[in-house]
């Protein structure tokens, strides 16, 4: 009794060791070898082997531990007949086969099997199926009604469209060769547990394989995405660098132009005073041409730099509190000389209204509008520059946002209705005569950008032959927490 208990104890310990070993290893070969070794030790069987069933129903021994006096069955291939269909089904369902004496007719072994058994001197067998429970993902096909599954399972063929499916992977077999053996409950349970462990380990191994494949695929995908992103980044960096170079180029050129332009502009103006010597009539004509042309160049250079800033998103509006009256006065002052030359009278009404805007840019807009008005007026005419505060916005009649409204009105030739919008586009001029008057075609589009950056609107109204009115609005409210810088 003592010995029996001791043996039991040993077995239990061995068994725990085996389980631990199995769980620790992920290598299927290791697990199989450990299992057969442990089974042999615990059961004291003469041979323990693992038989792997192949898809074509043949199979072979892939793991074995056998006492030296008995032959090995390793790598021996077995024909289909060894595992008849109905046995296959039974095993797939988990049935254990314990044969105490192979020669006992009650065991019901097939004749050919008995022959084989005699060859190898096997007297008793214990066969436990190793079953894998597979699910649809491992077979990669569409789900099925679970009711169908029970039918499919019993067929034993691995139907590729079952939800879960018991697949007979192989057999864990213990042989007793030296004698017959009555396999006890413990033996059966041990073998079953080992077989289960193998089943699980196989599933794990498979899962791991699938995981690794997934990992690899995912890694490959990510690598490609990464590569593409990198290329895109490079492309964008190149584009940005090119743009930057382009901008810098324009900046430098425009800068370089300004110094000789200053000399040219000033020198011609000095000559034009007449105080540096008398010129013939033709000489004066030539001088006038040179002078006008230089003025156009000056305006163009100024406009180009503005435009370049706008295009590259570098137009920085810095708003501050300023007085509409001051801006109007400045604008008029700077246009006074030009107005006088064209015999135009500038009329203003500098109301003391505060605005929240970038004074330099608003001044630029005002001078531009005044310049246009003067240009297109006939001698002796008037140009008005007026500012008012509107509490109901002329642009948003339903909004209650108060606006400051600037208007420049002239009595000149007017603008055809179909041109009223187009003139705000770049390089648009009303007609050829406009270009003769020295326009660059850039001024109004720049004005529009500036006004829109301030949150306002600019537009023109006109009656051909009866003058035009250019109006722009600026929002009157200073929103709380509004930053004073706004990059466009």
């Amino acid at each position: 009794m003592q010995t029996k208990l001791h043996h039991q104890q040993q077995r239990v310990e061995l068994f725990s060791d085996v389980m631990l070993k199995i769980r620790q290893s992920l290598q299927v070969e290791d697990i199989l070898q450990t299992t057969v070794t442990a089974a042999q030790q615990i059961l004291q069987a003469d041979r323990v082997l693992i038989y792997h069933v192949l898809p074509n129903r043949t199979g072979k021994t892939i793991s074995e531990v056998v006492l030296p006096e008995y032959p090995t069955l390793m790598h021996l291939e077995f024909a289909e007949e060894v595992l008849p269909e109905h046995y296959h089904q039974l095993y797939a369902q988990g049935r254990v086969r314990a044969i105490a004496d192979v020669h006992d007719p009650a065991a019901g072994l097939a004749d050919c099997l008995v022959e084989f058994i005699n060859q190898f001197d096997i007297k008793a067998k214990l066969i436990v199926p190793i079953v894998q429970t597979l699910n649809v993902h491992s077979l990669g096909s569409s789900p099925h009604n679970s009711q169908d599954d029970s039918q499919h399972i019993s067929q034993g063929k691995s139907k590729k469209n079952s939800l879960t499916h018991n697949h007979l992977w192989g057999l864990l077999i213990a042989h007793q060769c030296r004698s017959t053996r009555h396999w006890v409950e413990f033996d059966l349970r041990l073998m079953q547990q080992l077989a289960n462990q193998i089943g699980m380990a196989l599933s794990h191994a498979q899962l791991l394989e699938q995981w690794e494949e997934l990992m690899n695929t995912r890694t490959a995908e990510l690598t490609e995405i990464n590569h593409n992103l990198q290329q895109e980044i490079n492309a964008r960096m190149h584009a940005e660098a090119a743009l930057h170079r382009g901008n810098e180029f324009i900046s430098v050129i425009s800068h370089e132009l300004r110094t000789p332009l200053t000399s040219l502009h000033s020198a011609l103006k000095l000559l034009a005073t007449g105080r540096l010597g008398h010129l013939s009539a033709t000489g004066q004509q030539m001088l006038a041409i040179a002078d006008e042309s230089t003025e156009r160049l000056v305006r163009l250079v100024n406009n180009v730099l503005d435009l370049q800033r706008i295009e590259s998103g570098n137009l920085v509006i810095e708003r501050q509190m300023c007085h509409a009256a001051t801006l109007i006065t400045h604008a008029v002052e700077s246009m006074q000389a030009t107005a006088q030359q064209s015999e135009i009278t500038l009329v203003t009404q500098p109301d003391d209204i505060s605005i929240w805007a970038d004074p330099d840019y608003i001044l630029q807009v005002l001078t531009n509008l005044l310049s246009n008005a003067i240009k297109f007026s006939s001698p002796g005419g008037k140009v008005w520059l007026i500012v008012t505060r509107c509490d109901s916005s002329p642009t948003l009649p339903h909004a209650s946002v108060p606006e400051i409204v600037f208007r420049v009105r002239d009595e000149g030739q007017g603008i055809p209705t179909d041109q009223l919008e187009r003139i705000f586009e770049r390089f648009q001029q009303v007609n050829a005569a406009d270009r003769k008057k020295g326009g660059t075609g850039l001024g109004l589009s720049i004005c529009r950008t500036i006004i829109e950056q301030h949150g306002g609107k600019i537009w023109a109204e006109s009656t051909p032959g009866n003058g035009s009115t250019f109006t722009f609005t600026l929002p009157a409210q200073v929103r709380a927490g509004h930053t004073s810088n706004q990059q466009c």
Binding site: T262, S263, S266, D360
Partner: protein, 127 residues
């Protein structure tokens, strides 16, 4: 009131010339010229002009360095300086103002207008 005296520091000779003639012709003021920052500092210390027109972009000693040197000297520290520059944006102007420059005149300009612009910047009552 004695005639105003202007010092123009610019490494472009043509600019020196047109500025000289323009200011003389329109306001009758005296104009001294210098072709470099170093030369300009020397003349300023000697002549003590009423205002200095200083080109920002010069090759050897640029406008900003020249300005700082002028500010540092006791003899020239009080003389108002106006930058001549191609840059006109508000941000850049503010940079110059932060330095302590009295004002900025942008290129291209008409030198005949300079006396008026200078008077405006420095709040001189002349005209």
């Amino acid at each position: 009131m004695p005639t105003k005296r202007i010092l123009i520091i610019d490494d472009e000779e043509t600019i020196q010339t047109v500025v000289q003639f323009g200011i003389k012709m329109s306001a009758g003021w005296d104009v001294l010229t210098a072709g470099s920052g170093a030369q300009g500092i020397q003349i300023a210390q000697l002549e003590k002009p009423d205002v200095i027109l200083l080109d920002v972009m010069m090759n050897d000693m640029d406008g900003i360095a020249t300005f700082k040197a002028l500010q540092a000297h006791a003899k020239t520290g009080q003389i108002p300086v106006i930058f001549l520059t191609a840059k006109a944006q508000t941000g850049e102007k503010r940079q110059f103002n932060d330095l302590g420059v009295s004002g900025v005149i942008t290129k291209p300009f008409n030198s005949l207008n300079l006396p008026e612009q200078i008077a405006h910047i420095l709040h001189w009552v002349t005209f």
